[in-house]
Symmetry: C2
Subunit: 573 residues, 2 copies
């Protein structure tokens, strides 16, 4: 009877840092050797880091990645490692190297290249053509890469009809809410459709706009989840498979007889035969998270990795006493530790006493340093110098924006002087309709909750209080009506509909590309829908100059949504 032990190394590489990534990969290989695994899998493009974007257009980068792979290969011993890298032969490929005993035994090249949403793989890669099989310790293993397995008639079908008993999938699949369920359903179906083990190795960590949730999974041939790695953490799964069970099962699988017609001959590459004496290990299935916790961890991971991978230690956050900046501060504390978060309170003559108090209580609850810099006098000095130019003109958003930009300038000055990164606090509802000041509250290096609608902001803030069993974020912050406090008695609802109405309209328009009539038919006022759509479209220029933030929805602002600024399309015409 054959036995087979697979290890899944769910790691967090850094884009472009070939030395660091090589070190992480070698650590994974060593660990797999210690655990007496036959095979250890790493995520897609783990060696260059994912996504490498236009680094892929630099021939030197591709060459350096190949050299790094050779070096890793030389240090491997008696475990087969499957490592994502950039292969090159006349063109470049998103590929997986099969490494064993100091040699690259073979390569699989990704056949299905995603070129939608945040993906641009047709920009870089040539598609592979060979759904080959690797014979590893007497077990037929089909390697696939991410998108490959989303096609029911993709390489995994061909491989399994040609005898593959285990389909390995190297993935770097960006997170969004609901995607984990989709993946689990789809992978489970592939396993049972093909009557095959499926080992899905996902990346973990943040990279600019993207965050990867890990949660690698192994399914048995009837589609049962037999192992799951931690979500939003590095992890190392070890699972014992029973390859002989596959053959027994297949004799009972009616679909298989019919599908067999589709089989085509493919290359089988012999990699190794080894006999390891080992005790069976019980696989571990880590628990899924509820939505608020999952999103919170996504934001924490994305923030931590953006800050740390870019070489920053501490961050600055302008605290207004509102829910958005409070949430961002709580996320930053979880990501970086309270010693690395500085709150900046910048009151103006429109700032209420309650707001200052709330910001101070929050900072105390979180245990973070506070800096207080009032903007009233600076604001006066601007008004003095602009008096002649503005003569006869009434107060309008100009004066509101000047205040927001003074705050932006102060935060950036502190950032420049001390080398701290500024986190911005705008949410997706505001980013959508442009309810934010460019170079003002939008000034900063990373926009933590840019893809979180206001209604979700409250849910996550509530979760934070629940998990710590106390009011980290003061109750009053939840209760008061949202306000920018840039003029007397200002409320968000003076300019915008309630968020409970705004958010679903935005979701329908931005995330679902619904037609104007369709949105109105959902029960919203026609004029309101028109006004909101106009605001969204007109503010494309602001979003183009916004800092990156973490994608948590199926359609985030950034490379996920590429609309022209110059755009006169009016969908109600």
């Amino acid at each position: 009877m054959r036995d087979f032990r697979i290890a899944v190394a769910q790691i967090n590489p850094i884009v472009g840092d070939l030395d660091y990534n090589s070190k992480k990969i070698l650590e994974g290989i060593k660990k797999a050797e210690e655990m007496m695994a036959d095979l250890v899998c790493f995520p897609e493009l783990v060696l260059p880091g994912y996504p490498p974007e236009d680094l892929l257009l630099k021939p030197q980068f591709v060459e350096d990645n190949l050299k790094a792979l050779e070096k890793i290969a030389k240090e491997t011993g008696d475990v087969v490692a499957v490592v994502g890298f950039v292969d090159a032969e006349d063109d470049i490929y998103n590929a997986a190297a099969v490494i064993y005993e100091g040699e690259i035994k073979g390569v699989y090249r990704k056949m299905f290249l995603p070129n939608y949403s945040v993906f641009d793989e047709e920009r870089y890669f040539q598609a592979g053509k060979e759904p080959n099989i690797f014979v590893i310790n007497e077990v037929n293993v089909g390697i696939t890469i991410c998108e490959d397995i989303r096609y029911a008639d993709g390489p995994a079908l061909t491989q399994s009809l040609n005898g593959a008993e285990l389909i390995v999938n190297l993935s770097s699949s960006p997170y969004h809410v609901g995607k984990r369920d989709f993946r689990k359903r789809m992978l489970s179906t592939r396993a049972s459709d093909y009557c095959v083990y499926v080992a899905y190795t996902n990346l973990v960590g943040g990279q600019d706009e993207l965050v990867f949730d890990g949660g690698s999974m192994v399914f048995d041939a009837d589609g049962t989840l037999i192992a799951q790695a931690k979500i939003f953490e590095e992890d190392f799964l070890v699972v014992d498979l029973n390859p002989d069970g596959i053959f027994r099962r297949r004799l009972h699988d009616p679909r298989r007889r019919k599908e067999k017609l589709k089989a085509q001959m493919i290359e089988k590459i012999f990699v190794c035969k080894s006999t390891k004496q080992r005790q069976e290990i019980k696989p571990r299935v880590e628990e899924d998270l509820k939505i608020e916790e999952e999103v919170f961890k996504a934001l924490v991971t994305g923030t931590r990795d953006y800050v740390r991978k870019n070489g920053f230690q501490r961050v600055l956050i302008g605290l207004s006493g509102g829910i958005d900046s409070s949430l961002v501060a709580a996320i930053a504390v979880e990501a970086l530790g309270n010693e690395n978060v500085v709150g900046v309170i910048m009151p103006s003559r429109f700032t209420s006493k309650a707001s200052i108090e709330d910001a101070e209580i929050l900072a105390k609850n979180l245990g973070i340093e506070i800096v207080r810099i009032p903007i009233t006098k600076i604001f006066e000095s601007y008004l003095d110098e602009l008096r002649d130019s503005f003569k006869g003109k009434p107060w309008d958003t100009t004066e509101e924006n000047i205040q927001a930009r003074i705050r932006g300038n102060i935060l950036m000055a502190l950032s420049n002087k001390f080398g701290y990164l500024v986190l911005t606090t705008g949410n997706k509802s505001e980013m959508s309709v442009g309810y934010a000041t460019l170079y003002g509250d939008m000034a900063g290096g990373f926009a933590v909750i840019k893809d979180v609608f206001k209604t979700m902001v409250y849910r996550i803030a509530k979760y934070i209080n629940e998990r710590s069993g106390k009011e980290v974020i003061p109750a009053r912050i939840f209760e008061k009506p949202p306000s920018a406090e840039l003029r007397e008695d200002q409320k968000d609802e003076d300019d915008l509909p309630p968020y409970s109405i705004l958010d679903p309209i935005l979701k329908a328009y931005i995330e679902e590309d619904r037609a104007f009539d369709e949105i109105v038919a959902q029960g919203f006022d026609e004029d309101l829908v028109k006004r909101i759509i106009k605001m969204v479209d007109r503010n494309e220029y602001k979003r183009r100059q916004a800092p990156p933030g973490i994608k948590i929805t199926p359609r985030a602002f950034g490379k996920d949504r590429r609309l022209p600024i110059t755009n006169r399309y009016a969908p109600w015409k």
Copy 2:
């Protein structure tokens, strides 16, 4: 003997404005009718405007574009019009409709979809499969769309081997320096290779980062340019062809006999037979421009269209008395008229008297309004409020950036109050190495010379003086060493190498993706190259938040160059 008259309508549509674009198209059709043409061609995707980007993912937009096409078709009479639009059948296609006598007679769908540089067509479109031929007034016409004709064995080969005597190419080809020569060479070769007339219809005008140069061309079957439209202007070319000459020529073409083997049957669609009595028209060949003039017109066109298509009348420019802001002001005046350009002079305690004088002389020469707003007092008010926080810290770039951001705030305040658009003045050399203040001098709606290296800035400025036969830009501005004037006696060369050394290093690294060793081998100091590359890479975050600007080189910042911000690749390791 058959005669055939083709009209080329080189127009400037607006993305998303289906009504406006329809009107422009109908005007072109009417004009072609008046000129008794058999056929009138419009640019690629002229109806939705180009590039529509993610508007293409909105089903309602696609549907509205189809409705607009139907309306245009209904108004056509006895000239065949070939109109770029988005076709839809299960999926969407970049397509050309052949319209005649109120009907859509047929459709060609683009077969080669560019997905490199600024193009993302695989993101949107399904590729066409039919290199059909349209029989228009007894002449066999093959329609192709832009990229299609860049492939020597693309649809135009199949069409011409199946009898096409005229290849029409609808194009929306973004400008960069040198591209006009490339196109001319390539199209001339296609015409002589296939022994066929080639009529290339290009878009003209600006759209966000892109500018289209027009310069539509017609080549005869030996590759001679027989007509060329104006460059960077709307134009309407009419050319009489001699289709019978094609057959005579083909009997003498040795390549054709050999190529014939490649022929495959394709569909021929009969469109019309008409007999028009007309006098021959001598075709017009507009002159090419020299580089400085061409780039100047590109910048003028891009600026005019960004400002106007986004609904702005007037622009604001911060005038420093330096060459960059002087050039931008001159471009803006050419684009919008001097009555629509306002110069803002914002002196600090570090601004030299000469700089203020130079800015004033420039403004006078250009005849533009000036606003003067000193920043000294505002700067003092910031230093006052920051004094405690900055205690014990020496003056550094922080204080420089505060000043630049005060200017940014003032410009934006004027913009907000009066509804003028702010043009920024940073050049490509500065944008590359991050020698600019985010939210400071980078604050604004459009970055006119963002893709123009400093050495080219001087060349264009010189050209501006030459063409007007006087010193529009004062000689002293050319002569003084460049300086940001943000501290005492500051010069660009304190921080950067001379631009004559910096620019070629940047070109090699940014536009050509050269390896580190390759750049050093060009004769540059190793440490300097390393320092420059570090600066370029480290400042990706600034460029990500920069306003869009006009692409004039083969590789501009923006959607042309997609590098990660989080990126630890060090090519000298």
